[in-house]
């Protein structure tokens, strides 16, 4: 897996979907999720010097996200990428197994920082099943595992719709948060779509 391509693709998808993410956030949050991630990911792209090893790409991008995004999603996504990068260490090549470790570390980072559980209607609801699906399928190779992760992220995100939010701004709405897709879960789907997009079928 090429970490830089992953982040680049994530940034492209977020830019294309920024308006949609912002609209989702306007419904149950404060209407800035797309703008936030877009700003953060541009900064992340700008921070990536040439020829960094994959782990370093992710920690650098993560730090930039933390530094430039603001909001809840900045520290959360930033921490996710940093933890993933740290888990990769100096490895020059990321295989299916390394990626599994990295994804698990990312999830752990988000959990620790945000203290959200599955079912709280946050990005965790997409991230956790995606990471689990990846792990369960990793033995079949990266393309299959990435595909499974994306499917699980999508299902997880969809599944946030009927939930009542207990974390993040949407929690302020109480029962009125029910019936809406969580914006952070939606952007997490894009993270995994980006991963699928940059994972060649034969990898």
């Amino acid at each position: 897996m090429d970490a830089r391509e992953w982040i680049e693709r994530f940034a492209e998808l977020v830019e294309a979907e920024a308006d949609h993410l912002t609209r989702l956030d306007a419904a149950i949050g404060d209407g800035d999720h797309g703008t936030n991630l877009n700003r953060g990911l541009r900064a992340a792209m700008a921070s990536l010097h040439a020829d960094l090893p994959p782990g370093k790409v992710l920690t650098t991008a993560g730090r930039a996200l933390i530094s430039k995004t603001g909001g809840a999603s900045g520290p959360l996504y930033g921490t996710a990428l940093r933890r993933a990068g740290k888990a990769l260490g100096d490895t020059p090549e990321v295989g299916a197994g390394e990626l599994a470790t990295a994804l698990r570390a990312a999830l752990e980072g988000v959990r620790e920082l945000g203290r959200a559980e599955e079912g709280d209607k946050t990005m965790i609801d997409a991230l956790a099943p995606a990471v689990a699906a990846y792990a369960a399928t990793a033995a079949e190779g990266m393309p299959a595992a990435v595909r499974a992760a994306l499917d699980a992220a999508e299902k997880g995100a969809e599944a946030t719709i009927p939930l009542q939010a207990r974390k993040g701004r949407a929690s302020y709405l109480g029962a009125r948060s029910v019936g809406h897709l969580d914006p952070g879960a939606a952007s997490t789907v894009l993270l995994f779509r980006a991963l699928a997009d940059v994972t060649p079928a034969g990898a």
């Binding site: 912002t22 603001g70 900045g74 520290p75 302020y172 109480g174």
Partner: protein, 331 residues
């Protein structure tokens, strides 16, 4: 969308440039995006830093100055500041006696301030965070993000600022901010949504005869949408919610009728008349009050009512001189 701005992406920076040009008593760092007192850091004085998304003006930048904040770090509109910014503000005001962070309880603010505090600790600055969560519209629970920080922020900044100015220690300054937060409850009502420049459209759609009860200060809808009501009815909803959570009878209170940005002052005073009637009818005495746009949500119409049960000490700190762009008396 109609805004008095040059470009959507520059509005926060341009507003900072305006603050810098308008207020020689402030030192505005456009690169770091912080607003600090020109005389900061003051050796031996506890530093007081707050910050949050932009769009709530005069909060927080307008409350930097003598007797209130030492620095503010404004994020993008409705987006918490980033750790680098908070750290820069913390460094700028650190006079060796520690720095208190006044943080409105939103996940984004909490996480970013937390990261900044860790970084400040690396620089050997002792940081004490004080969380503001006064909004009774949100159910308080350990399983959720908890209550939002709203009007109590101003009360905490004013009183803690007075104590810091008077030489209070780090723990004393933090304690008074905490005490004010514990003694304050707020409830907000929106007559209209607001429009975030970057989004370009109102944060929600509301019918001509609908209002939102229990809103926050980020253009988010409230807990409940209802038909349009009179000012007296709205005041009753807000004060009843506050009173249910923190009985007011027998207390001397500091009360704020805070405009969300788009409601004329004439109407805020009309609402204050209803507030004064309600409180005296429920056995509370108004000791201090504030009517105006202090903690806003861009151009949202509506108001937020905040009530703090005073102690003689808090009243004294409230009355102490303050000299900021947004709040000034005694000098």
């Amino acid at each position: 969308m109609k805004k008095l701005i040059d470009a959507v992406d520059d509005v926060v920076l341009d507003a900072l440039r305006g603050m810098a040009a308008a207020h020689p008593s402030l030192r505005v760092d456009l690169d770091e995006r912080i607003i600090a007192r020109a005389d900061a850091p003051r050796p031996g004085k506890v530093g007081l830093v707050s910050g949050g998304g932009s769009g709530h003006e005069p909060l927080h930048g307008g409350f930097v100055g003598y007797g209130m904040l030492d620095a503010a770090c404004p994020g993008e509109v409705f987006t918490s500041p980033v750790p680098d910014q908070i750290l820069a503000a913390t460094n700028a005001v650190s006079g060796g006696a520690g720095v208190v962070h006044i943080i409105k309880n939103y996940t984004g603010d909490v996480l970013n301030f937390q990261m900044a505090a860790e970084l400040a600790g690396d620089d050997d600055i002792e940081v004490v965070p004080v969380m503001i969560d006064d909004d009774v519209a949100v159910q308080d629970s350990t399983f959720t993000a908890g209550r939002r920080g709203t009007g109590a922020t101003l009360f905490a900044e004013k009183t803690a600022g007075a104590l810091a100015e008077a030489g209070g220690s780090l723990s004393e300054v933090a304690a008074v901010a905490t005490e004010v937060n514990e003694r304050t409850r707020s409830f907000g009502v929106a007559l209209t949504a607001c429009t975030v420049p970057a989004a370009g459209r109102p944060t929600f759609d509301l019918g001509e005869d609908e209002i939102e009860l229990g809103i926050g200060i980020h253009g988010e809808p409230g807990r409940e949408r209802t038909r349009l009501r009179t000012a007296s009815e709205i005041v009753d909803v807000a004060l009843s919610a506050i009173d249910d959570d923190m009985p007011l009878s027998g207390s001397e209170v500091l009360v704020m009728v805070n405009g969300m940005g788009g409601t004329p002052l004439m109407e805020l005073y009309a609402a204050y008349a209803a507030v004064a009637d309600w409180l005296s009818g429920h056995g509370a005495t108004v000791g201090r009050r504030l009517v105006g746009n202090y903690v806003t949500s861009l151009d949202m119409a509506g108001c937020m009512i905040s009530v703090c049960r005073l102690t003689p000490r808090l009243a004294e700190l409230w009355d102490a001189p303050v000299e900021t762009p947004g709040l000034r008396w005694g000098r």
